[in-house]
Structure formats: structure tokens, C-alpha cells
């Protein structure tokens, strides 16, 4: 113990000056970006939204914006079966030898957020609707690329008749999916992979459309020069990067003043603190853009707790947000990332094993919930973290199995 203390004291001699020095320089370097931030943010009507994301692809952006206006094919009553501009592909080579007794396998990236939980729940119910599926083997990668790579390998080498993959990340999972494609028909949904080997890739229109839906709403509803706060979950995730980079294009091309782009880690307390700080620092915030709605209610509460009216708000189709929007008569929009794609993935697998054709890229509709459609989606009997676009309302066990009353 004595020796440890002496050692610590020795190190401290060296550290003491250095540590205090680094504290000082920390403060200084902290001040510098602040100075530039106020110059950029406060001085001119257009805020500084930062550099263009390395994930931004103009072509995809244009495609997604165009797809928003295309009428999807199929029955609007079953949007999970609708498709936008499908290029149908023949799947007869994958037709199962038996008409039933199929083994369907699923490598899931994670169930670590309410959106994935609702989807996963819906997916299990969808499987039950198909008597042909004898076994449904699902493995949760717990948001780890490494685990998902070995999960996919294991499943592909097992006796799966078809493999559904919801990749954790795009680039890292691509080789694993490519290897699996050689052994079993693969259905990818949600995040994509950098290969066209899967039989079909199921996804809603995409992140750019999501981000632009919200940004356009703010452009229409916030007065010129209004102060916008953008809240993001975390950097570096492609599906979230596209949402922000899409919105950024819109904001840069507007006279709105983006006073801050902050990362919340999806943490409600942190979100609330950030919004409170901005309210105190800026005096007022005229609109809030978010790349996901999980902490939207916490962000709104920050306005309430500061005694300020809630400005135009971008959330998502999470039920707590929709409920608050309706009850408090707010001005808001909820872009969605159609949760019913979890159903579609199973339906695609069934079609493939029956040898029916599916689109090579199955683009699902991605409606944004607006004031006009809010009443159709909000449901006070469903739990706060339920997602309105689950597409699960017609399933046996609804609403109890989704936590509803």
C-alpha cells in the first residue's frame, strides 16, 4: 500500500503539471470552436450544418425523392405487400422440394430498440400464419457484427430452406451474406448489403426520404430565419447518416437557421438536457428535426419544463409521440421507416420457397404521418413505445400481444 502511494506520488509529480496543463488547453480548445460556431450560427440567416456526410450519394437521394411521389403497386389495404417500381425476378430455382415442412432461418442484427422489438414481434406472428413453415430458427446478433457473421455462417451451413438477414452494418456483413447466398436463398431487409446476391432486398424507400420529409415540413412551417435544432442519435450508421444528410441538403437550401446539430445517444435524459441548454442559450428554438422519434417526447418535455410552447416538431411513428401530438394539438410530422417490412421479409421468403416471383429490390411505401392522417395512426390503447406502422392490426393476438389493451 505504502509503495503504491509512493509510486502514485511519483507519477503525480509528472502528471500534476501535465494534467493541469491539459485541463487548461482543453478549455481553450473548447472556446475556439465555440467562437466559430457563434459566428457561423448566429451571424447569418443560414446555419452551419457541417460538412457533407461521406455517406451521401446524390443518385440515391434523387431516386428516393422521386419514389415518394410514385403510386405503389398493390392493394393499399395491405401496404406490406405493396411495391414501388418492382422489377420482378424469377425464383423457380429456389422452389422448395416439399410443399411444407420448411425450415425458415433468420439472422437478426438486434432487438435493442422499440422499433426492432415491435417488428420482431410482428414477424413471429407472420410466421405463425404460414403452415408451410415448420421451424422458424431466429438468432439475435445483439448488435455485434462479429456475432452476426458467425450466426449467418452457422445458419447457412444448417438445414435452412431460406435465410432472412437483417444486417447489423452494411459493409462488414457483405462477405458473410455473399457466402450464405451460395448455399441458401437469402432475403435481406432493413439495412442493405453491398452485393446483389440476395434473392430480394426488402426495404422502405429510405433514409433520404425520411430526413427530407421532416426538413420540408419545417421549411413550410417555420418562419424565415427561424432557429432549428437538429437532434441525431449517433454518427456513422448509414441508415441514420442518410436521414441527416438528406435533411441537410434541404436546410442548406433554405433560409432556416440551423443553430445546432447534436448527438443524443438515443438517451432521453441527455436529449432533454441538450434541448434545455439550447433553449437557454438561443432564447428560443423554432423547430426541431430528429433522425428518430424514440426521444421526441423527452425533447418536447424540455420545452414544456422551460415554460415554452412546443414548436413544429419532427418525430416518428412511435405511439407516445403521436399521442402527445394529438392530445396537445401540436404542429408536427412523423416520417416513418415502415415497420411492416418485418412482415414483408417473411412473406418474401414464402413466395420464394413457393417459386413465385418477387421483386429484386422490394421497395415498400414509406408514408409520413401528417396532421391529416394522424387520427388513423394514433391509438391510446397501445403502449407508448409501439410503432403505428407495424401493419399488425389484422393479425391474431392483436392488440394484446403487442402490449395493447
Amino acid at each position: 500500500m505504502k509503495r503504491n502511494l509512493a509510486l502514485a506520488a511519483m507519477i503525480s509529480c509528472a502528471l500534476f503539471a501535465g494534467a493541469c496543463g491539459s485541463d487548461d488547453s482543453d478549455d481553450q480548445s473548447a472556446q475556439e470552436p465555440a467562437a466559430t460556431a457563434t459566428e457561423d450560427g448566429g451571424g447569418e440567416p443560414q446555419g452551419d450544418t457541417g460538412p457533407v456526410s461521406e455517406f451521401f450519394v446524390q443518385e440515391d437521394y434523387d431516386t428516393q425523392l422521386a419514389q415518394r411521389d410514385i403510386e405503389p403497386e398493390g392493394d393499399p389495404a395491405t401496404p406490406w405487400l405493396q411495391m414501388i417500381e418492382p422489377e420482378m425476378a424469377d425464383t423457380s430455382e429456389y422452389k422448395a422440394k416439399n410443399a411444407s415442412g420448411w425450415n425458415l432461418c433468420f439472422s437478426n442484427a438486434a432487438v435493442d430498440n422499440p422499433w426492432r422489438q415491435v417488428g420482431w414481434n410482428t414477424m413471429q406472428h407472420e410466421v405463425k400464419l404460414h403452415k408451410e413453415i415448420a421451424n422458424f430458427k431466429a438468432v439475435d446478433a445483439e448488435a455485434s457484427d462479429d456475432k452476426q457473421i458467425s450466426d449467418i455462417e452457422e445458419l447457412a451451413n444448417g438445414n435452412c430452406d431460406a435465410l432472412i438477414v437483417s444486417p447489423n452494418t452494411t459493409k462488414t456483413l457483405t462477405p458473410a451474406v455473399e457466402a450464405a447466398c451460395e448455399k441458401v436463398p437469402v432475403i435481406v431487409f432493413d439495412r442493405g448489403v453491398d452485393t446483389d446476391c440476395p434473392v430480394t432486398f426488402v426495404h422502405p424507400i429510405g433514409g433520404y426520404a425520411f430526413g427530407v420529409d421532416g426538413a420540408e415540413f419545417l421549411k413550410e412551417n417555420v418562419d424565415s430565419g427561424g432557429k432549428i435544432l437538429a437532434l441525431r442519435i449517433l454518427p456513422g450508421v448509414d441508415v441514420l447518416e442518410t436521414r441527416w444528410s438528406g435533411a441537410k441538403v434541404q436546410f442548406d437550401d433554405s433560409d432556416l437557421n440551423v443553430v445546432g446539430v447534436e448527438f443524443t445517444d438515443g438517451d432521453a435524459a441527455k436529449t432533454k438536457s441538450i434541448v434545455s441548454d439550447y433553449l437557454q442559450r438561443e432564447g428560443q428554438i423554432d423547430g426541431v428535426w430528429m433522425d428518430a422519434g424514440a426521444t421526441a417526447v423527452a425533447a418536447m418535455e424540455a420545452f414544456e419544463d422551460n415554460g415554452v410552447d412546443i414548436p413544429p416538431f419532427v418525430g416518428e411513428d412511435q405511439n407516445d409521440f403521436l399521442t402527445k401530438w394529438q392530445e396537445d394539438g401540436l404542429n408536427a410530422i412523423a416520417p416513418t421507416y415502415s415497420n411492416y417490412q418485418w412482415r414483408t421479409a417473411v412473406l418474401a421468403a414464402v413466395k420464394i420457397l413457393k417459386g413465385e416471383e418477387v421483386p429484386k429490390e422490394w421497395v415498400l411505401p414509406q408514408p409520413a404521418i401528417t396532421q391529416d392522417t394522424l387520427a388513423d395512426y394514433v391509438d391510446p390503447n397501445m403502449p407508448p413505445l409501439h410503432y403505428a406502422l407495424c401493419g399488425c392490426e389484422d393479425m391474431p393476438g392483436y392488440p394484446q400481444d403487442w402490449g395493447g389493451k
Binding site: 502514485a8 500534476f16 434545455s276 442559450r281 419544463d305 413505445l385
Partner: protein, 334 residues
């Protein structure tokens, strides 16, 4: 350290003025740092000087300050408690699921939550003191067990909801309070716990606990039940984590990430307050001031527009610098 002499537990041998002087010298640095940070915040954001602005800050800092008070008891007795962050998460997730938006269940469940905190504390204490597992390992294990259990129970996303009367504790306060407009409940609770902790440390319990951390064998020889004292410290820490969880759940609502990293923030706060790792030194007031300082620093960084990602880095620098500073001072004193 006169307080550690075997016969000193019941009656302090130093005079009152001497004790006050020592306490002031011991806690002065952290209050100076805190004052400077608060002044910098006020320059950046003048609203901060008005009661509502400052109270909003205290309200936000209250859970961490309460955690720091709990952590102080454990650290001063010579141990660590890494499980507090996961207790906070457990408390919030369990509350949401069991109360499920039914206001009539709020108070019984709050009692249950406190019991959970205390139970985890007792378990940590017994494993550390009776099974002789170092507390670093015990509470790290507890952290993993609890976060795993939460994940298993919720599947990653919590279910249920917290009713308004539960949320009110962490979110609202006494309305129309003279001068302050609104006195947040969290600030009231923080004050009560702070005063309680200071009184506890001044009582014979506090001196015994200090002795356990300063020199275990000497304390044992003088008849202090070392194992019991440490177990009680863990219980206090577990209880403080439960209270912090109730406040955080109230402040921001249900989240399965709410407690992440709080254990390190609490330890940083205590260390920043000048409480030496390894036990036997420092005051609980300084530990709580350390929490306010840490929160002030985060607020300032946010006001300066520094990325939130740097918070961890800053925390790391602080914890090393503070311990280095403390041991430098100790060496000087000896």
C-alpha cells in the same frame, strides 16, 4: 488524522474550530473549481444567474450528486461500487413495467424500488466482505448481471409507462415558491439527502466508516465491525442509486440506457471532490460538490458547442488529474 485513533469514534479530540478549518481546507479546491465553472456558464448564458436557470441546473445534477453521496460512503470505506448505473436502469425499467401508467401503484412500487436498491447493496456488501471478493470484481459482476437481466427481461426496449405522479418527482416541483418560482422536488430531495449524509458522517458511524477505510486493522483492533460497516456503505450506495433512478425516470421517462456510464460519473465526481481512492479521506459535501462540478463542466462543454463524445475524454482526464493532484498533496502533507 486524529479521527482515526482508536478511541476517537465517539468524541472528536480536535476542537470544533480546528475541525471546521480542516473541513474548509479539505473541500476548498473543489468549491473554487465549481465556482469558476459556474461563473463561466453564467458569462455564456446570463439566464443561469436567475433562480429558474440555476435550479434547472441543480435539478439536472441532483441524480448524479445523490449517486456521488452514495458512492462516497463506499469509497471512503475503501471499496468501489460499479453497480450503481445498472441499478438506476433496473429501477427505471422495473418501475415502468410494474406501474404501467397506473398512478395508484406509484408509491408501493417506489417502496419496492428502494428495496431493490438496498438488496443489491446488501448483496454487494456480503459478497465483498464475507466471500472476500474484491469490491471492484463484485460490483463489476453485479453491473453485468443486472444489465444482462434488464436486457433479458425487456429484450432491449422497455415496456410500460410511468404515470404523471411518478414523473412529477423528477420533473416538477413545488409551484409558486417565493422568489424561485418553482422549487424542484429533486433539489429538495438532494438537500435532504445531502444534509442527512453530512450528519451521518459527523456521527460516530461516520468516524468508524472513515477509520475502516483509513486503516482496516487498526479499526478492527479497536472493535469496529469492519464487515458490517462496509456492508452498510454498500446499502447506502444501493439506496442512493434507487433514488437517483426514480429521479432520472421522472426527469426523462422510460429508457433502457438511462444508467449507462453513471457509475463512472459518480466515481469521477467523488474523486474530483478530493476523496482519495482507497478510503479514509475526504468529505461527503466535497463529493457532492464534485458531482455538481462534473455536471457544470458538461453543461459548459455543451454551451461551448463541444461534441458530447468528448465528455468521456474529459472525464478520463479529470479522474487521472484529480487523483494525481490528491496524491501530490498527500505526499506534501507527509
Amino acid at each position: 488524522m486524529s479521527a482515526t485513533t482508536p478511541d476517537a469514534f465517539e468524541t472528536p479530540v480536535t476542537s470544533r474550530s480546528e475541525r471546521v478549518r480542516k473541513a474548509l481546507v479539505g473541500t476548498a479546491p473543489i468549491f473554487i473549481v465549481l465556482f469558476i465553472l459556474l461563473a463561466l456558464i453564467a458569462i455564456e448564458n446570463p439566464n443561469f444567474l436567475e433562480p429558474p436557470g440555476f435550479l434547472a441546473f441543480l435539478k439536472r445534477a441532483a441524480p448524479l450528486a445523490i449517486l456521488a453521496a452514495g458512492q462516497y460512503f463506499v469509497i471512503v470505506s475503501g471499496e468501489f461500487d460499479l453497480s450503481v448505473g445498472s441499478i438506476v436502469t433496473v429501477v427505471v425499467v422495473v418501475a415502468a413495467r410494474l406501474i404501467d401508467d397506473d398512478p395508484s401503484k406509484t408509491w408501493p412500487i417506489i417502496a419496492l424500488l428502494l428495496a431493490i436498491g438496498a438488496t443489491v447493496g446488501v448483496t454487494n456488501g456480503l459478497i465483498t466482505t464475507r466471500l472476500k471478493v474484491p469490491s471492484f470484481i463484485t460490483t463489476l459482476g453485479m453491473l453485468l448481471i443486472l444489465s444482462g437481466a434488464v436486457f433479458w427481461w425487456t429484450g432491449g426496449a422497455p415496456r410500460g409507462a410511468l404515470p404523471d405522479n411518478f414523473r412529477e418527482i423528477g420533473r416538477l416541483g413545488i409551484q409558486d415558491f417565493p422568489v424561485l418560482e418553482q422549487l424542484p422536488w429533486s433539489v429538495v430531495i438532494l438537500l435532504v439527502i445531502g444534509i442527512g449524509a453530512i450528519l451521518l458522517m459527523r456521527a460516530s458511524f461516520g468516524r468508524r466508516l472513515m477509520a475502516v477505510g483509513d486503516n482496516e486493522s487498526a479499526a478492527r483492533l479497536s472493535g469496529v465491525k469492519v464487515e458490517n460497516m462496509r456492508t452498510i456503505a454498500f446499502v447506502l450506495s444501493g439506496l442512493s442509486a434507487a433514488v437517483a433512478g426514480i429521479l432520472l425516470g421522472g426527469f426523462a421517462g422510460v429508457s433502457a440506457q438511462v444508467g449507462q456510464g453513471l457509475e463512472f460519473q459518480a466515481i469521477t465526481a467523488v474523486v474530483l471532490g478530493g476523496v482519495v481512492l482507497g478510503g479514509g479521506r475526504g468529505t461527503v459535501l466535497a463529493a457532492m460538490a464534485g458531482a455538481l462540478t462534473l455536471e457544470a463542466l458538461f453543461t459548459l462543454l455543451n454551451l461551448y458547442g463541444v461534441s458530447g463524445a468528448l465528455e468521456d475524454t474529459v472525464q478520463g482526464i479529470i479522474i487521472i488529474a484529480a487523483v494525481a493532484f490528491a496524491s501530490y498533496r498527500l505526499r506534501g502533507a507527509r
